[in-house]
Symmetry: C2
Subunit: 214 residues, 2 copies
């Protein structure tokens, strides 16, 4: 049972949703750092339900496949769920739709709501206001021996990294400079020392770096 995190970031470390609008809630930068991932056959099948076999099948797809394997519970920050700074209407259940692509218990870190809600396809959102270590204990229990993923966003992942709670970190780095947003690496001087590091470059130009605690 491992604690994993996977993020798409820019070369300058940003995993950003800056500049979002109602029409494009993730902002104009999002496609630049997730484009190669969204283009994979696995992502298209798992998230869009596209079973036509369309999509890329190279190294980016290998990582996408691994992304969806062996995860028994997920932790995410309020921003990734879809809570914004403003108070949200009580009927807002995030931007993941009726059948979120998680298919496991998901723990959403927020002060704005409590309780749980079962969605279609095996995803249950549980809202909780807990410290990283505490929510991890709950998620481990729920994962039934499988891995726990800290899904994002970058501030949430950074907190878990800083507390030494992540066993496997995978970042997919797009060769673009965003220069704004939330920087995953801020305040993490020396993180990863003593981890095994593997770096590979995909056909898309995306660099995949994975740190594994041994």
């Amino acid at each position: 049972m491992r604690v994993r995190a996977d993020l798409n970031i820019s070369l300058d470390g940003f995993a950003t949703t800056e500049g979002g609008t109602p029409d494009n809630p993730m902002g104009p930068d999002w496609e630049k750092i997730t484009g190669a991932y969204v283009a994979t056959r696995t992502f298209r099948a798992r998230v869009f339900g596209d079973e036509s076999g369309a999509g890329t099948t190279g190294l980016d797809n290998d990582y996408a496949t691994r992304y969806f394997e062996g995860v028994g519970a997920e932790i995410m920050g309020a921003g990734m769920f879809g809570f914004h700074d403003a108070p949200e209407p009580a009927e807002w259940w995030g931007w993941w739709g009726d059948t979120p692509p998680f298919h496991v218990p998901v723990f959403v870190l927020t002060h704005q709501r409590s309780g749980s809600r079962e969605m279609n396809g095996g995803t249950t959102f549980t809202f909780c206001s807990l410290a990283p270590r505490e929510v991890l204990d709950v998620a481990r229990e729920a994962a039934g021996g499988l891995d726990v993923r800290v899904g994002g966003g970058p501030s949430t992942v950074r907190e878990f990294l800083a507390d030494g709670l992540i066993d496997d970190l995978h970042v997919a780095i797009a060769p673009v400079l965003l220069g704004r947003g939330i920087n995953l690496w801020e305040g993490l001087r020396g993180w990863g020392e003593g981890y095994r590091v593997v770096t590979e470059v995909a056909e898309s130009g995306t660099t995949h770096v994975t740190w594994s605690r041994e």
Copy 2:
């Protein structure tokens, strides 16, 4: 004739000499980001004069070899020459020794000194207080049809990047997080759009990213 820049940086974008002491002027982080480069056969021969054939010969060495090819003039910031914040004694000629490894005219951007000094081995230091575009005109003239390199440090390279003056940027990224120093990427949102980007990973785990203006 191209204008080139090459830097060794950390994964979080730092090319740093923080924490330097008289015994270790580049600071404890320097070896972390330059270790793989310094270990190459080419670097050992060109900079240390080690002709024994010792050193690595893989992809890092291929890049090191290209580093030393085809450069007719070099531009560097005051920090890379060895000027510090404090006034330096008039007899201080930087930390590059009597036979600097450049072997071409070198233009040092500084307000602290003017004039030129010829060193052994073909290196001439010329001190000038000029804007990026202006010093580039002078360096181009001196390069005799070969490339001009903007050698560093990161603040100097960043200024030339921001002004759109670099045709080819190569960064060698070490898989470490330094979290302090001068960040090469600061303020460069969108830099490199329209450039061709090539990424390769060396045996050492160093990722080489090269942008080329077409």
